[in-house]
Amino acid sequence: MSRVRLAGVIASLLATGTAVACAGCGSSAAPAAVSSSASARAAAVSAEAAYSEATDQATWAVLPMGAPSGPNEFWQLFLLAAARQKWVLDTPPDIATNGAIELAGLTGTSVVTGVRPSLYLAYSPVSRTSDAGKTWAAAPPAERLADAPDALAATPGGERLLALDEAGVASSASSAGTVWTPLVTEHALAATAFGRACGLTRLTAVAYSPSSARLLGGDCSRPGVAGLFTRSAGAWRAAGLVAPPALASSQIQVLRLVTASAQTTALLAASTGSRTELLSAWLGADGKWTESAPLSIGSATVRTSAFGASGALAVVLSNGHGEILSGPGGSWRQTPLVPAGRAVTIALPSGGQADALAASAGVLAVWQLTNGGTHWAMVQTLKVPIQYGSSS
């Protein structure tokens, strides 16, 4: 074999070797398996941050409208004043609500709103009204509010603010001030004695108790522990909520932590494998918690939630049913299948009424539970002038 031919053969072998190597190049890796525990933890969390909260004078509801996502999705705030029969649009002005709206500090006709960051807005504007949305005033802007319905809290009247940001930092501010002061980080909280006992995996909610004590809620990895923290004697400690023995082997999440009309209510999800039970707890004036009976929801998830003025609460589940709990000492009551619509939310105005708010692109349909709670009847439709294209 001549030298040239030998060189050609060598070149061929090299090229073939390269080809063989290239045959493996660029092959896509199999997607990493999703942690089963992470998926279980996320199962009960509200998919849509739509919810309703009420005082004895007003009921507010937050729902997404417009496009399903992106710059043409606009979150709307609706109001049902106690003296009126009709829901009205009450979305705070001069701010794009492409990020979800957070409600806090509900009392009478006062509410504080925060807007989650969206598009190029990288922080969270905060505003408040004391006259049910007739006039609004800005409060100090917060860092990027966490993607949770209770990432913003306020004392009744909104003098003090508490926020949970995307980085897991809880901060507080005076609504008349300009600066937020960091209180504690998720990491630091997890390192406390109760944080370790809970095995805190993430913070999900902040609230002020009726006595203006700061409350933080989170998910615990240790079974049977409800991750509710409060600040006392200069340290973060357990807020005193003890899970019932029946949930001793369940991982507990704090889904919601809401204070309205001097009543703090926690909605908890206790998961064992794929089974989930819901539990509500109310913080009394004596600082003690009262717990509801657990509600087994199987493998369903919570879509939306609602809190009434007297400690009542409601959820809409992924199976299409609503569940209403009348308050401390009450029992869970299943509603008929909720009407069709996007992010259907049950609202609980004072007086024992239950409304189901169903949003479509630009119309809100309001249904009321009638006939002794066996039937939803449409009572109102509200056209919402969505400003398509205004955020793009």
């Binding site: 040239v4 050609g8 061929s12 090229a15 001069d94 701010i95 794009a96 492409n98 505003s127 955020s391």
Partner: protein, 632 residues
């Protein structure tokens, strides 16, 4: 890397055409001047030629080299013409570079993104530069038949070909899944590089048959490797359809047919896609057999079987060129005729090099020890008198003597017109390359992108409306306090989710561009939101937009009663919209001269808000500030 503009944007297209026209006129002038100079010198001074030149004149160019030079010269010219398509300036990064890199690993995308971003910042200079570089290389290859200037043409083709291969073709998709010879692997531009390198070889290599065997062997090895890749079981080429989904080869052909192209080609490619889907195994088997068979024959290096293999490869390659590669340049924003034609040119050249023409030694020129014997073909024409009796070659290399003006003029007169014109082609390459390189070295994008978004600015000459407001630090600032400085003024909503953050970025970049005039320029924004008017919102906005470190940045606010008259005097609309919409407002920037008079109003809708357009608006602002200050 995507500027976000429409590829047919009339402003950019007009600017691109104008640049091509200007550079085309310059190129034409260059050729005319060179031709006139050459004719003048030739008329005045008798031609002289060294013995080596005359000996070289006897040596005809090897056919293989000629094929490569002319074939790739024509291809480069075709590519240059394709590069002149109106949509190329804006479209190349978004419609050619980005899709090509999309399936490559992150590091490849990073490399390619760097170049694509550079292009999107300077689309006119880059696109026009690419046109002239490619046309220049093509003309250079065609005209420079031999000698160093011809070899340099080859090297230029290698250099630019590598640029195209790396940045334009993402390394020919070498690191992406689905690499296949049928769809163009390892990249057409790599063929241009190989051809350029072969053209750059000293001529003596072309007169050895072993060069041809080596080339053919390498080409054969490459084809065998491609056959192995095509046949590799896990790569999905054997199935036309997998569980109702198109197989790898089917998907490739179908993606080609989805390109916008003449209906005849689209129909043919679409038909072939259905054939591959139905008979993927057979089609792949044919491809593997042809590639492996031709490769093995080429490896064997025997002329007669190699001729037949070359014919088979040509038939197969041309079929692939039509049915899979859709002729390369007719689909979408085509930049070249894809890989098959250059691949076949290389194969044909390798085959031609296998059988070099017989040659005889030139008796007159005795080779130095170790030097190859100069040869000339037996069929060479009769020697001219000058060639028959060359003057003796001077001993040694007295380069000083060779640089004497008289000798240089004599040599200039002795060169042929094609050689002179090939010097012109070098000039054309430089005509495209130098502005392109200069533009790439600039961090600021060309202002033409901003003009494409918002049109040109409106000149003004009136006193600027006064204001006295509070800045982000709580300090009182009035227009009067800024007198003596150029003021770039805009109106921003601190809770805006779209335009205002982009405008803020434009001002931030303008501040960086104007860093040398820091004491003479102020960048001022006035709050547009009557609800979120507290200083804390201005500070939050500044933090998020990276404006806190800009010393000449002033973001002013006041009570709604203070702000509304200022908006009105500057003609800025601000409207509360319902249902969660942000404040409606107009986007404008004003340039106020040091004397307090308005100089310009810039429509300042930031458009797509890409990095390129942000930078372009910043350049426009910086230029406007310079203009207001009387700086050129």
């Amino acid at each position: 890397m995507n500027s976000g503009l429409n590829i047919d944007d009339p402003t950019v297209v007009a600017a691109f055409r104008l640049a091509l026209l200007h550079q085309g006129l310059a190129a034409a002038a260059l050729f005319v001047v060179l031709a006139l100079a050459w004719a003048s010198v030739r008329g005045l001074v008798p031609a002289s030629a060294s013995a080596a030149q005359r000996a070289d004149a006897w040596l005809p160019e090897a056919p293989a080299r000629r094929l490569l030079r002319i074939g790739f010269g024509i291809l480069w010219i075709l590519d240059g013409i394709l590069q002149g398509q109106p949509g190329m300036a804006v479209g190349l990064p978004s419609q050619v570079i980005q899709p090509t890199a999309a399936s490559s690993p992150t590091w490849v995308q990073y490399v390619v993104n760097w170049a694509g971003t550079g292009w999107s910042y300077h689309p006119i200079q880059a696109a026009a530069g690419a046109v002239w570089i490619q046309l220049g290389i093509g003309v250079w290859l065609l005209l420079a038949r031999k000698g160093r200037i011809s070899q340099l043409a080859g090297l230029a083709a290698v250099a630019w070909g590598l640029v195209v291969w790396v940045f334009g073709e993402s390394f020919g998709g070498l690191f992406a899944p689905g690499l296949s010879w049928l769809t163009g692997a390892p990249g057409a531009a790599l063929c241009y590089c190989v051809a350029g390198a072969l053209v750059a070889l000293p001529s003596r290599y072309w007169r050895r048959s072993r060069t041809g065997r080596l080339l053919l062997g390498c080409f054969g090895g490459f084809l065998v490797a491609m056959a192995v890749l095509q046949a590799w079981p896990g790569r999905g080429f054997w199935q036309g359809e997998v569980r109702g989904q198109p197989g790898a080869l089917t998907a490739m052909v179908q993606s080609m047919s989805a390109q916008s192209q003449p209906s005849g080609i689209a129909d043919a490619v679409s038909w072939f896609g259905s054939v591959v889907r139905a008979d993927g195994f057979v089609i792949n088997l044919v491809a593997v057999v042809v590639l492996a068979g031709v490769g093995m024959v080429f490896l064997a290096g025997r002329p007669r079987p190699a001729r037949l293999a070359l014919i088979a490869l040509a038939v197969f390659g041309l079929a692939d060129w039509v049915l899979v590669q859709d002729l390369g340049f007719l689909g979408g924003l085509g930049t070249d005729p894809n890989s098959m034609i250059p691949m076949l040119l290389l194969a044909a050249a390798a085959f031609l090099a296998l059988t070099p023409r017989p040659a005889v030694a030139v008796a007159e020129a005795a080779p130095a020890p170790g030097q190859l014997t100069p040869i000339r073909p037996a069929t060479a024409p009769a020697a001219s008198p000058a060639a028959a009796a060359p003057p003796p070659v001077p001993a040694g290399r007295n380069w000083l003597r060779r640089l004497q003006p008289g000798d240089l003029v004599g040599k200039a007169a002795s060169v042929s017109l094609p050689t002179v014109m090939s010097v012109g082609a070098v000039g054309v390459v430089l005509l495209g390359g130098v502005p392109m390189a200069a533009a790439q070295a600039s961090i600021a994008a060309t202002p033409v992108l901003a003009q494409a978004v918002d049109g040109s600015s409106a000149p003004l000459d009136s006193p600027a409306p006064r204001f006295a407001l509070t800045d982000q630090a709580g300090m009182r600032v009035s227009l009067g306090s800024l007198r003596g400085k150029a003021v770039l003024l805009t109106f921003l909503d601190p809770v805006c989710v779209t335009d205002c953050p982009l405008i803020a970025q434009e001002f931030r970049e303008a501040a960086l561009l104007l860093a040398g005039q820091r004491s003479r320029v102020e960048l001022v924004a006035i709050n547009l939101n009557p609800l979120y008017s507290q200083v804390s919102y201005l500070q939050a906005f500044d933090r998020e937009e990276g404006l806190t470190g800009i010393p000449d940045w002033r973001y002013l606010t006041g009570s709604p009663a203070q702000l509304r008259p200022v908006w009105a005097k500057y003609g800025i609309a601000s409207e509360t919209l319902p249902a969660g919409a942000m404040l409606g407002h107009s986007d404008a920037a004003f340039v106020i001269g040091p004397d307090g008079r308005m100089v310009e109003e810039l429509d300042f809708d930031p458009g797509p808000g890409s990095a390129a357009t942000v930078s372009s608006f910043a350049t426009e602002l910086a230029n406007a500030a310079d203009h207001a200050l009387g700086v050129s």
